[in-house]
């Protein structure tokens, strides 16, 4: 029996189904909108300030109404409610909620099966990338020439924060969402996650938060930049309230997901799956989740303070009331820097996994790889103030934070050693996941090295706040993390769909995105070195050429990403059939049938060695 069902075996009274079984994404939206309107109506009368303006209090109440309505509508509260009234779910109910015999409809519901949640995360990630990508193209189009022609300053300023935050959300879930959910439990021989309902909860709270975040664009955007310095945040319109509320909800989603991952990995490994036989991707997930548990509560507090400042006349960040925006900056970066590694580690860990299979070799120095990820996890909690070197806050801490920051280059160097060491003397299979992996190696060097410049306090006093910083972290996020995510998608796609991701289209996509990244962000480094600040809707003629080149590069990236989207849609429907284990890998997810049955295993597997023994002497014919 699965953990989903264990608790309820003794319960007998079956539910007739009724309303609870008709809930899906559509009822969630409908109820969300209705409750948003009701909450707005109540707020208008409670907090009437003598004008028809949409006030901050109304905005927060409206957003809260949307969230609560959405969660009720999707069915997030059904099981706890039934438990409260003493009519806990029956076995049939639980099978129904796990998506048994529901066909495609299960992807639109509050489904507890980890594989369904994984697929839902793929769709959410792609939607977020689409929204963020469209905003990026709008901004790059504006920046093709000096002056403001395509969108005006107000619109441009409204875009920057939403582009940033949407893309950050997309990358936080890009690998942990789909693959820590779909693949990780199978990898450790479990039949589901430790808390299947919380798994669905983390997904749907994310959806409700993402929807609210995108709605910010409809209420005038959020002209503050995604780091939202407290003082400018206080000036922003009601978009800021939606933003803060979306973040508060998002941190809940991340925390719930992380608790689920950590518990699953620590308690649900099958017999023989000792820690030193754990696939390296599982280790990566464990460190990522632990780090997320530490980091995201800071974001929760940071945005809660912002909401209170705006609606309840507190003054956490308002200088006139005794507050300081340095408080906001500290809270934000206490989350913001660990978050970079919450994004990076899954990408690296997935590539480690893929590199062994593609090179037909064991992972080079497995223990060093784990040590490197552990060191990164620990150090990343101690570096946040390097984002504040030029803020004027605690100048004497510049030295200590420079030390912790630069120490990070040692564990980061280990990643290169492990990756290149694994491929070295391998029989490297140049499939598209491998191609994206080489792209990662190329870009991550550039992104990593340029980080060292910024960690040096005297040099940061020149480069901070410039396009150099933007180029640096785009080499990390687009050039490295996204490349790893696409590699992972191409690698695990056959497990999800039973079909290969189209090799030809994927290769075209790779070359377009790879070349586009070099052009866009290569030229952006030059803009920054020359002295162009970030987040500028317009710029002086000195930066004309490099910006033009960056915009052309951005269009090339867009073409590549659309090609990839085409490949995904085409292959999902009629790609080449792959069979259950197309890469001849040894990890458990490839040993179960495709499509993976509900509850994954007929018989619990027993593990006797780590998954990195490739023992065929001859090529395997396929």
């Amino acid at each position: 029996m699965t953990t989903t069902l264990e608790k309820t075996e003794t319960m007998s009274k079956p539910q007739g189904g009724g309303l609870a079984r008709r809930q899906n994404f559509a009822t969630a939206i409908i109820l969300g909108v209705i409750l948003a309107w009701v909450f707005w109506f109540v707020a208008r009368h409670l907090f009437w300030q003598g004008s028809d303006n949409f006030s901050d209090q109304e905005a927060v109440m409206t957003g809260a109404g949307w969230m609560i309505g959405f969660w009720i509508g999707i069915g997030a509260f059904n099981a706890p409610f039934q438990w409260l009234v003493g009519r806990d779910n029956s076995h049939d109910d639980n099978m129904y909620y796990a998506g048994k015999d529901l066909g495609r409809a299960r992807y639109w519901k509050y489904t507890t099966d980890h594989k369904v949640v994984g697929v839902q995360y793929i769709i959410v990630t792609m939607s977020l990338l689409a929204v963020g990508g469209i905003l990026a193209m709008a901004m790059r189009t504006e920046l093709i020439t000096p002056g403001t022609h395509f969108v005006n300053q107000q619109v441009y300023n409204g875009f920057i924060a939403i582009h940033g935050m949407v893309m950050i959300l997309a990358l936080i879930v890009a690998i942990s969402g789909p693959w820590a959910n779909f693949v990780m439990p199978i990898m450790i021989g479990a039949r589901d996650m430790a808390f299947p309902r919380l798994n669905a909860l983390s997904l749907w709270t994310l959806v409700s938060a993402a929807a609210l975040l995108v709605t910010v664009l409809a209420v005038g955007g959020m002209p503050v930049g995604w780091v939202v310095l407290g003082t400018i945040g206080d000036q922003a319109g009601v978009g800021m309230d939606f933003f803060a509320l979306a973040i508060v909800t998002f941190t809940v989603s991340t925390t719930v997901a992380s608790i689920n991952n950590v518990t699953t990995i620590l308690t649900m490994r099958t017999k023989g799956m000792t820690l030193d036989r754990l696939p390296i991707f599982v280790w990566g997930t464990l460190f990522t989740s632990a780090l997320a548990l530490y980091a995201f509560p800071f974001f929760f507090i940071a945005e809660l303070n912002q909401i209170l400042d705006r609606t309840a006349s507190t003054s956490f960040y308002i200088a006139a009331g005794g507050g300081t925006s340095w408080l906001q900056a500290n809270l934000f970066w206490l989350m913001g820097h660990p978050e970079v590694y919450v994004i990076l580690i899954p990408s690296v860990a997935a590539l480690f996994e893929i590199s062994t299979v593609m090179a037909r070799k064991p992972l080079f120095s497995y223990r060093t790889a784990i040590g490197g990820m552990a060191a990164l996890t620990g150090l990343s909690a101690l570096v946040w103030a390097h984002h504040m070197f030029t803020s004027g806050w605690a100048p004497t801490l510049g030295g200590p934070f420079m030390v912790t920051t630069e120490l990070i280059s040692i564990p980061t160097g280990i990643f290169f050693l492990v990756l290149v060491g694994t491929l070295w003397r391998g029989n490297v299979w140049m499939k598209s996941p491998t191609l994206w992996m080489f792209g990662f190696i190329f870009n991550f060097i550039i992104g990593g090295v340029t980080g060292i410049y910024l960690s040096d306090v005297p040099l940061d006093e020149q480069l901070h706040g410039t396009m150099f910083v933007t180029a640096h972290f785009h080499y990390i996020f687009v050039g490295s993390v996204l490349f790893g995510a696409i590699s992972a998608l191409a690698y695990w796609f056959p497990k999800v769909t039973g079909r290969f991701l189209d090799e030809t289209l994927n290769r075209y996509a790779f070359w377009l995105v790879f070349i586009g990244v070099q052009i866009t962000f290569g030229a952006m480094f030059l803009s920054g070195l020359k002295g162009m600040p970030r987040r500028d809707a317009s710029y002086s003629f000195a930066f004309e050429h490099t910006n033009f080149i960056s915009t052309i590069g951005a269009y090339i990236i867009m073409t590549g990403m659309l090609t990839l989207l085409g490949a995904i849609i085409h292959s999902w429907r009629k790609g080449e059939a792959s069979g259950p284990n197309p890469w001849h890998a040894n990890t458990l997810e490839w040993q179960v049938p495709t499509p993976v049955p509900l509850e994954n295993f007929d018989v619990d597997p027993i593990i006797t060695e780590d998954p990195y023994h490739f023992d065929n002497e001859e090529p395997v014919h396929v």
Binding site: L363, S365, L407, S409, R425, V457, P458, L463
Partner: protein, 242 residues
Amino acid sequence: MATSSKSSLRLFFWTWGILTVVFVLIGIFIPHRYMPGVMSNDANLALTTTILFTICAAPVAAGVYAGAIHILKHHRYRGDDVPPAAPPIRENTKLLVTWLTASTVLTVFVLVWGLGALAAENSTSGNPLVVDVTGQQWVWTFSYPGTQVVSNELYVPDNREVEFRVTSEDVTHGFWVVNFGVQVDANPGVWTTIHTTPDKLGTIEIRCEQFCGLNHAFMDAIGHVVTPKQFSAWLASQPARV
């Protein structure tokens, strides 16, 4: 394939060497070509540091790239089938120790350089010219304590240390003197300071580098580094304001 080690390793070392030289040349050329006019000791330091760090990073980056190129050329499986198993190398202590030592040494070097530069930058001459800088949406104002001069253009004499005391009237701004290589945030309700010593005459650019609202992109100011004589003359020529 993997056994033609001697000649293929020679290729690896050649690629490594050539790439290192190329990166060092790029690292010297680009900062000189692209970084803004250097007009203070701190801007000079920023330029030197950029070049030095590129030289330190060049062999590491070149090594990884040469490794990747080597793998693509010599360790790639060229059949259509699933490739056979490769030698199960799980550890190589010598390589591991070499790599960790090299990266630690480089990191420590970069750190020592940075901490030294930071200490040098923080030391002051004891007799700086103080300039009060106020940011407000979306204009910079400079005033000179001890005089009644208030200006939207910055004038400073060369070869004398300047201390900027920076604050804001509304939201957080980022006071950045591009040609001096120094910046500090302007926060409402507090004074933050930076200092630097201009060492070249000419026009300087000042920009805002913290997003501060609608016209953030246009929150620029012009400054001038002049001789001490010209500076006194300029101060005297300014109308006194109360």
